[in-house]
C-alpha cells in the first residue's frame, strides 16, 4: 500500500473541508472497497478521511411513506432493522445477501452507492424504490444518479449523508451470485407501488438500470406470462471472464421469472 495521511473526523463539515483542500483525498467508510483497492496499489490518495465516527449518519428512521437510512449504516444494520424488514423486506433481504457476515459488519450503504460498482446490489434498490440521495451539499433523484461504471452524479467534494427509500406495497430482490466474490452477475429488484411498478437490474451492465417497457407490461398484467416474449437487450451488457453478455441476458430473464413468481 502506498502511504497516505490518515484523518479521523467527527463532523461532516470537517470531512468536506479536507476533501476540498487536500491534494488527492478519499473518503473511508467501511473500507471494504477502498482498502482492497489500496492494497493492490490501484489508488494512491494523499489523504484518507475516516468518517466512521460521525454518529448522526448511522440511524434508520421510518417516516411513514419512506424510510431514511443514514449513509454510515452497515449492511448488517440494514438487514436486521425491524423497520426495513417490515416495510421494505426486499431491501433487508438485499442487505443480508451482500458479502458475508464479517463484511456486513463494516460495509456501508453510503460507500456502496457512492462507489457504484456495476455489480453492487444497492443501486438496484435505489432505482426500484425511487430513492432520493442526500449529500453534504445537494440531493439527487434515483433516475439521475448512476452515470457510468464507478461514476455517479455527485461531485468530488460531496459526501453522501442519507438515502430516502419509498415504502412499496411489496418488494423482492434476487441475484445470481458470482460463486467466488458473491457479487451480482445479475440482480433483479421489483417494487410494487400504488402508482406503478419499478423493475431494476444490476450486475448486467455498466450501471444499474430500469426496464421501463416491462414495468408497463407488468402494470397491465402482473404475471410471469409477460416474460413469454421477453428477451433482454444485451447490447450494453458486460462480457467478462465470469459471463458473456448473452449469459447475463439469460440470467436476467430467469431472475425476473423468479421475482415475479414470488410477488404474484
Amino acid at each position: 500500500m502506498y502511504n497516505f495521511k490518515f484523518h479521523k473526523v467527527d463532523k461532516i463539515e470537517d470531512a468536506v473541508a479536507i476533501l476540498s483542500s487536500a491534494e488527492d483525498p478519499k473518503i473511508l467508510s467501511g473500507g471494504h472497497t477502498l482498502i482492497p483497492t489500496l492494497k493492490q496499489r490501484l489508488s494512491q490518495p494523499t489523504d484518507v478521511i475516516d468518517i466512521s465516527n460521525i454518529d448522526s449518519l448511522k440511524s434508520i428512521k421510518n417516516n411513514g411513506d419512506l424510510i431514511t437510512i443514514g449513509a454510515l449504516c452497515t449492511h448488517s444494520q440494514v438487514a436486521t432493522s425491524m423497520d426495513v424488514q417490515s416495510e421494505i423486506v426486499g431491501l433487508a433481504s438485499m442487505a443480508s445477501q451482500i458479502g458475508d457476515p464479517q463484511v456486513r459488519h463494516r460495509g456501508t450503504i453510503g460507500g456502496s452507492i457512492a462507489n457504484a460498482d456495476p455489480a453492487a446490489d444497492y443501486p438496484a434498490a435505489v432505482l426500484a424504490l425511487d430513492a432520493k440521495i442526500t449529500t453534504s451539499s445537494n440531493s439527487y433523484n434515483s433516475d439521475d444518479f448512476f452515470i457510468d461504471m464507478f461514476e455517479t452524479a455527485i461531485n468530488s467534494d460531496e459526501i453522501i449523508t442519507s438515502i430516502d427509500f419509498k415504502i412499496p406495497k411489496k418488494s423482492v430482490y434476487k441475484k445470481f451470485r458470482n460463486p467466488a466474490s458473491g457479487y451480482a452477475m445479475a440482480g433483479v429488484f421489483i417494487a410494487i407501488f400504488e402508482e406503478g411498478i419499478r423493475v431494476a437490474i444490476t450486475g448486467a451492465s455498466t450501471t444499474a438500470f430500469r426496464l421501463h417497457d416491462l414495468e408497463k407490461k407488468l402494470e397491465n398484467n402482473f404475471s410471469v406470462d409477460v416474460l413469454n416474449d421477453f428477451n433482454a437487450d444485451t447490447t450494453n451488457y458486460n462480457s467478462d471472464i465470469h459471463a458473456s453478455a448473452k449469459y447475463r441476458g439469460n440470467l436476467v430473464k430467469v431472475l425476473l421469472e423468479e421475482v415475479i413468481a414470488e410477488l404474484v
Binding site: 497516505f4 490518515f6 482498502i35 482492497p36 492494497k39 466512521s52 463484511v103 459488519h105 466474490s181
Partner: protein, 151 residues
C-alpha cells in the same frame, strides 16, 4: 506516523504506527499476537477474523487507525489461562481442525454467531461461515463443533 490507543484482549496499548498499517499486521507484528492469520489478504478466507467492539470483522481489510480507541478481541483473548473457551473445547472434541490455519478465524466467527443467535439451525451456521474457507476439513466437523457448543 500516527498514534494509536487501543484495548486488545482487555489490555491497553499505546503505539506509534504507520498511517496505512493493516489491523492484522499491527496485531501480528507490532503487538506480537500471531494467532490471527493472513490467508488470502483479499477479504475472502476469514483467517484474519477478530472482534471489534464484539463484532467479527476481517482484520486484513481494516486499517489499524480505523479502530483507534476501540476494543479488540483476538483468538488469544478467548481462553482464561489454561481454561479453553467452550468453542475451543468443542473444536478440539470434534476434530474440527487439521492444519489449524483457518481455525482462529472460524472460532472467533463462531463466538460472534452464538452471541447473536443462541440457537442457530445448521443452515444458519453454514450461512454464517460464508466468509471462511477451510482447505482441510470439509467443514462437517466445524459445524458439529458449533452445534456441540450450542448445547
Amino acid at each position: 506516523m500516527a498514534k494509536i490507543d487501543i484495548k486488545i484482549n482487555g489490555k491497553e496499548y499505546s503505539e506509534t504506527i504507520d498511517d496505512n498499517i493493516l489491523l492484522v499486521d499491527f496485531l501480528r507484528e507490532k503487538i506480537g499476537l500471531t494467532g490471527t492469520h493472513v490467508g488470502c489478504d483479499t477479504s475472502q478466507c476469514g483467517a484474519c477474523v477478530v472482534h471489534i467492539n464484539g463484532d467479527s470483522v476481517k482484520s486484513c481489510t481494516t486499517l489499524a487507525m480505523q479502530v483507534n480507541g476501540k476494543d479488540i478481541t483476538t483468538i488469544e483473548g478467548l481462553s482464561d489461562g489454561d481454561n479453553l473457551h467452550p468453542i475451543q473445547k468443542a473444536f478440539q472434541n470434534n476434530h474440527a481442525l487439521q492444519c489449524g490455519f483457518c481455525t482462529p478465524g472460524l472460532v472467533m466467527s463462531a463466538v460472534d454467531l452464538l452471541q447473536k443467535n443462541k440457537n442457530p439451525s445448521e443452515d444458519e451456521i453454514r450461512d454464517w461461515f460464508e466468509g471462511h474457507i477451510c482447505r482441510c476439513t470439509g467443514y462437517k466437523n466445524i459445524i458439529k463443533a458449533v452445534q456441540e457448543a450450542i448445547a
